[in-house]
Amino acid sequence: MRYLPLDASDRALMLARVGAADIDALFSDIPADKRLAGLLDMPGSMSEIEVERMLTRMAARNVAAGSVPFFLGAGAYRHHLPASVDHLIQRSEFLTSYTPYQPEIAQGTLHALFEFQTQVAALTGMEVANASMYDGSTACAEAMLMAHRLTRRNRAALSGGLHPQYADVAATLAKLAGDEIVRMPLDVRASEDIGAEIDDATSCVIVQTPDFFGNLRDLMPIAAAAHAHGALLIAVFTEAVSLGAVRSPGEMGADIVVGEGQSIGNALNFGGPYLGLFAARQKYVRQMPGRLAGETVDADGRRSFVLTLSTREQHIRREKATSNICTNSGLCALAFSIHLTLLGEAGLRRLARVNHAHAVDLAERLGAIEGVSVLNEAFFNEFTIRTPRDAQGLIEDLARRGVIGGLPASRLAPDAGLDDLVVIAATELSSAADRAAYAAALAQCL
């Protein structure tokens, strides 16, 4: 078998050194009646040719986003990945290296993480960022727990503009941890008064901008309301490219900023692996979950990087840790960092402008169709339309016509009265021809 270097004579020599009669002697601690007599009930080994054939066939049963006009966002966004990014992350030393616990032979990873942390802090307008979490939704839940620890309270208020699955994750954790959650009703028009939900028992308010429906929200009054009661503002974003065009949450007074980094450097991958970004004010750093790379020197006085403030983490604090998290999203964070370095500030801003331009154009085209109304005042690259028919059926019809038209909002929030709403995203990859095709197909489906 091509991945197993030992042959029969190797095994015989090794067994002899060990002093075991046969290999099963080394498994004798397994209770006799629990040892598998034969092989597992699955096919035998397969060559590369056979595996490729099987998996290629499976992959062909999916519609690749790049093969059709594509307008789906709702927490994951289709952007162009420069060729160098995927090439660089496949270098052996990045792909097959372990967590940098031995810093002398992991400066590549640690140096890149230090750069990543700086980029995330700059992007979010915050003072410090960690080396990444699993994804935006778990980062959001961890931020909630961090706010509970800092304020010594356990009630979180969740905006109705928060991605419904992010809210579900936070609610699951709160329910099982015995904490309280106030979940505002889904807020299509960004008209909620979340300030009214904040009191002296509130530990944090969690608000997303751009929100799930695409609205841009002013966090400053919410920050003020939270701080007036000794609560923290946790700002959430799901489209990292938006930070190249919209005001950062840090500028608006957020205490903790979390979000999904997939848009930069990482493919759609049917939902994972993704990249949780987590940033906060410096004074809260000891309550931050996740790994942190820090600067120091080595015995020769050369600048070096090392994982630091580890006493927050599970391998030291165990049941008193800030989190149970062990991995970060290392390779995805590297891809993010490489892509952002290639873009640079000017490139990111231009990319954001293109995204916004395409979304504005699409909104105009769709809004011009009879019966369709665009519900957002201000938006970045995502907006919501109301249509005269049920959104789920509409999206299925569009798919049959070869257009992926967006998310029927009721898919993530059934029974919320959103059955006629579609959340639509446009990126730099949504060409004018694609946008025209969508408008034409939509008109035909109504």
Binding site: Y3, L4, L6, D10, V18, A25, L26, F27, P31, L36, L39, L40, M42, P43, L55, R61, L72, P82, E93, F94, L95, S97, T99, E104, Q107, H111, E115, Q117, E127, V128, Y134, L145, A171, T172, L176, L243, L268, N269, F270, G271, P273, R291, G294, E295, D298, R302, E319, A321, I338, L340, T341, L342, E345, G347, L351, H356, A357, E377, R411, E428
Partner: protein, 514 residues
Amino acid sequence: MNSQGRPTRPTPARPARRDSFTGNRALDMEEALIFETGRLDATGVDIEEPPPFAARLGRHARAGEIGLPGLSEPEAVRHYVRLSRNNYSIDAGLYPLGSCTMKHNPRLNEKMARLPGFCDVHPLQPISTAQGALELIDALAHKLLTMTGMSAVAMSPKAGAHGELCGMMAIKAAVAARGEEQTRRVVLVPDSAHGTNPASAALIGFSVRAVPAGADGVVSAQSVRAALGPDVAAIMLTNPNTCGLFEREIVAIADAMHEAGAYFYCDGANFNAVVGKTRPGDLGVDVMHINLHKTFSTPHGGGGPGAGPVVFSDRLAPFAPVPHVVRNGGALDLVEHGKGSLAFGRMSAFHGQMGMFVRALAFILSHGADGLKQASEDAVLAANYVRASLVDLIAAPFGERACMHEVLFDDRWLKDAGLTTLDFAKAMIDEGYHPMTVYFPLVVHGAMLIEPTESESKASLDLFIMTLRDLAMSALAGERERFLDAPRHAPRRRLDETRAARQPILRWTKPASA
């Protein structure tokens, strides 16, 4: 908590060493930060400025500098290539990290994961356009159930620790369904457990009660019974355990837990030892997470991403979280909402680490039933070969009996040499090896946990063994500089970790004068 510290500041510190004008040593190169070499207006991506249009950002437009430098493509490529060369990797050498299973990462996996039909699919596309993705998830789920002999699987946890949290949440939900949420608040955890075990339990309000292993390194059913009470919700046991031993009383322990109305969580980090040899479901396990990045070869990527699907027994299957794949006639569908079921909730947005599923399935298909069994046997054989070849020189608390896929040593034998496990580990670096897992598990002093995996040739194992023997004999002969000065040949010498913690610098900041 772990309260046993160790030296974290190299002494004596020396002034900076410069052997050349650049500070480089031929192919061993120094590299600056992008913030020092990049420019805010430089870019390596060509993007056409859109024609003028009326923006709709309202008053939310971002003004002011962000602080993100850019590089042209050649500069960026050179930067990251040079960084990469300062990393050790599996592709370059043996990583004997116990409980990490650093096996070869097949490139077929990378090729399959990059098929557009897998990587260019959005999780919320209409289900009819993602049937192949659901088929893959279902196929992998089925393989995991076959290997573990369990009833149901949650594919959504994003990493091992996330899977532990998922399993413990299911247990808490099951306990609550019986109305015992207020009474059953304790989880039994052996001291040898990985830190994520008590951390996961504590996250959802369980308190942890230690259950000791015996002198033979395994937990006895008797000590479990002694720790059991009506206040116990579950035990969290790693099998094989972190000392590299099969928990031979596991069936009796499972029985004891079930008789007491409690559940059995198994940490599956060491599953590589027993795939195809025994099934956790047959041993009485109620729930177990599987680390795809350990047992099933998905790459570690410098720290992640991982994936931690969780298998459930009949007892706990009803409480598994959403989402999961179901068959509706000939087509596949996704259950995304728990309403009307006992599902305890949702672990993360979307459906799980699809990219890692493709890789793991490619690995499992490649090995097949015969290959998986052979891999486990080779992994266990390799660890025992290392044990038998070192136990005369390096103290092993359970060295006289067979281990599973990893072997545990401690630092008793170094005492008279005045050296520590850390010193020994750093000297391995100079020999071209990543050190083994050190100072874990906490149950022995100065632990050294070695897991070679099935991916090493006999020649590779022989060289590794001979190197460790050479180092051990050197230590015992009093050749201290080899260890105290180590590593001497790595891109960096020992770091001042004290300074990093006392004066944390967690990001680059523009110098005031600039």
